[in-house]
């Protein structure tokens, strides 16, 4: 029962993240929405898998995958936004503030 609730919450987070990935205006906004979908949504799905199996071999696999995914997705998103900024991709039209521009030089 609790595993179904956790998986439903995870799929809902993935849904919101994909809507943000399609609808938001520029790269940085899309990355912000999509990384939230990755960490919260898929980690919640894996937590549901852990509650479904319990602490047997399959559940321990899900338990290993949760911190791995959490740190890997966050570090990959940080590297990606840094690379995109250094590549020279502009912010969107409605963005009002760019603090990283002063810090980068």
């Amino acid at each position: 029962m609790i595993s179904t609730i956790l998986i439903t919450v995870g799929v809902l987070f993935n849904l919101f993240g994909c809507i943000g990935l399609i609808r938001l205006p520029d790269v940085y906004n899309r990355l912000q929405s999509a990384t939230k979908c990755g960490t919260l949504g898929t980690c919640s799905i894996l937590a549901g898998v852990l509650f479904h199996y319990g602490l047997v071999d399959s559940g321990v696999k899900a338990l290993i995958a949760i911190p791995l995914l959490f740190f890997a997705a966050t570090a990959a998103a940080h590297a990606l936004v840094r690379g995109a900024y250094h590549f020279g991709i502009k912010l969107g039209d409605k963005s009002v503030k760019d603090d990283y521009k002063d810090a980068v030089r």
Partner: protein, 87 residues
């Protein structure tokens, strides 16, 4: 058809909707963001599929997919920022 199958089909449709951003992305960074999130969504598919099929080994595919997606995204980000791979 119970709730888990419906959630599985929703998750598959979401990972297919990332293909829109991969195809139509205006810049290369949009495509890389979409590829990264596509990998994460496939890990979610592997998790739900291991419950509906009652096979535990599909989680191994998910763990391997996390690591390969992480290394691929780091390599592409390094390529974007214009550095060599040993810096």
């Amino acid at each position: 058809m119970d709730l888990l199958h419906i959630l599985l089909y929703i998750q598959i449709a979401l990972s297919a909707s990332c293909l829109y951003r991969i195809i139509r992305g205006p810049s290369i960074a949009d495509r890389m963001v979409a590829i990264d999130i596509f990998g994460v969504l496939v890990v979610g598919i592997c998790g739900i599929l291991s419950i509906t099929l009652e096979r535990g080994f599909i989680l191994d595919i998910g763990i391997a997919w996390i690591i390969l997606s992480f290394i691929g995204t780091l390599t592409l980000a390094k390529y974007l920022s214009g550095k060599k791979l040993n810096e």
